[in-house]
Amino acid sequence: MNRRLLVIFFIATLGLYAWPAYDRFLARDRDPGTFVVGPIPATGAPDSPFFQREFISPDVPDRIVHVGSICELPYGGLAAAWYGGTREGARDVSIFLSTRSAEAAAWSRPKVIMDRVLASRDLSRYIKKVGNPVLFSNPQGRLYLIYVSITVGGWSGSSLNLTWSDDHGQTWGRSRRLTLSPFFNISELVRNRPVSLSNHGFAVPIYHECLGYFPEILWLHPGAAGLKIRFAKTRMDGGASFIQPALAALDPSNAIAFYRPCGDNRAIGRAVTRDAGLTWSEPQLLSLPNPDAALDALPLSDRRLLLAYNDSPVTRENLCLAVSTDRGREWSRVNTLENEPEAEFSYPYMIRTRDGRIHVVYTWDRKRIAHVVFNEAWVTAQSEAKSP
């Protein structure tokens, strides 16, 4: 290269790096954000205990359903999503959506919002099957769906995709593939409830499941008008430790994560963050068992934590609730939602709606998606009934 060309290349190189550097140091929309802990609504008089149980999905013979999630719609409505098909991981698995307005007595008839054909069309690539969906919404009522898709292999070949709806799930935007792994973008999965951030983004708990098994956080920032999505990923732990993190944000900076264990450990893992999820403590094993199944945790209004989990090291035959008053170190069992030998009650997913009620959806023996609604007064009553 002659001297003049070399100088041009030097200047060009510096110019190429100027834009990302500007974007990092001077752009205004780079606030990492803190956790948004929703205000607990003041209901005036103390609530009396309330508890209600129902099914969202119908019982369809020879079909399984699994991995339910639920979120609140504007004006008090609810939306739930799950996957169903002939078996877990089958090519005929579809992702279903059902909604219920505040006034309606029953859930709408489930409709398919994603399957391998729709995903293949949206993503312009071959999709062998779809899997875990997680449904959540922003304060403006936009619904987001993150779902797993697989091109080759089993769950370890999973990638994550994002789509959204501005009409309560009637129509959905074109899915976008999220590149989250440098190794063919595989082995990234989602299961648990995202936490809203102060910068209008979300901290989405995800996990890696190939060679290493470990929890991560997807930092999702729907940009202006939700059209320019930015995202990044950070690791909560490494190696082959835990998966499926459930986040319980206590305040803007502090949160507790509860993990499904991997390997020989059959106890729930716990880690804490004090910097809004940027770094996490070494996980500690709790005294509560885990049969290699998903769990969920939710903060209550009085800084107690509520946990939904399988209370067994080997089976998913029961689904229990426990309460902690010390940030999740020690737990008191308060209620058994389900308990039946040989059956499976699993993958609980909890939210709190603006009216203060707590909603739990879970897999009911792989046949239906069950929905349990209760209030904090019921939790307190259960807790007091259990205490000596």
């Binding site: 190189t13 990302p20 312009s124 440098p182 950070t234």
Partner: protein
């Protein structure tokens, strides 16, 4: 849309290289401007043939949506050499590419797949030490008159333009296929030297 269009570049180059190889096996040398244009057009047409509602090129992308810029540059250099006997990337640049890609892959993949709590892949989202390091390497290689520097400039230009589906700089820099090719390339070089 930009990333979707660019996703056909690697499959088209790969098909062009395959057509060159097939022609060579048949004892025909495809050289010169017109044969090059014809072969490239044929390769492009093949990539857009719909197969079960997807252009054929997107089936390749289904397996890996982010072929790195150095891998694309190496393939482009090979295709140009086949048509015009021009070496865009000389031996020095290729050797640098193999060493750089292998080092990057050995550093990135074990940790990204769970070795330890730290994930270097996170440095690829937004300006970080990775960008500073890459800038330094590019400037040093430029000063050393190494053509791989131009490839690294292409990496950064492609990142700024969002030519890949990924928004992470690592995916523009290295991919698993490039690491395997780099391993083979380096092994071959070492073998040739020993024979010499």
């Amino acid at each position: 849309m930009t990333a979707w269009a660019f996703s056909f570049v690697f499959p088209v180059l790969l098909t062009t290289a395959l057509l060159q190889a097939i022609a060579a096996l048949c004892g025909r040398r495809v050289r010169g401007r017109m044969p090059a244009i014809a072969t490239a057009l044929l390769a492009t047409a093949i990539m857009f043939i719909p197969v079960r509602d997807l252009p054929f090129g997107r089936w390749i992308i289904s397996l890996n949506a982010n072929f790195s810029i150095p891998l694309t540059a190496v393939l482009f250099s090979g295709v140009v050499r086949g048509f015009f006997s021009i070496r865009l990337l000389d031996d020095k640049a290729l050797l640098t590419c193999w060493i750089f890609s292998l080092a990057a892959g050995l550093f990135l993949y074990p940790m990204a797949l769970g070795l330890g709590r730290w994930d270097p892949y996170g440095a690829g989202w937004g300006f970080s030490w990775l960008f500073v390091l890459l800038l330094g390497v590019t400037l040093v290689l430029l000063a050393m008159n190494n053509r791989f520097a131009v490839v690294l400039m292409g990496v950064m230009a492609a990142y700024n333009l969002g030519l890949l589906e990924s928004t992470n700089l690592w995916d523009y820099l290295v991919d698993p296929v490039l690491v395997v090719i780099s391993l083979i390339g380096l092994g071959w070089r070492i073998g040739v030297r020993r024979e010499a």
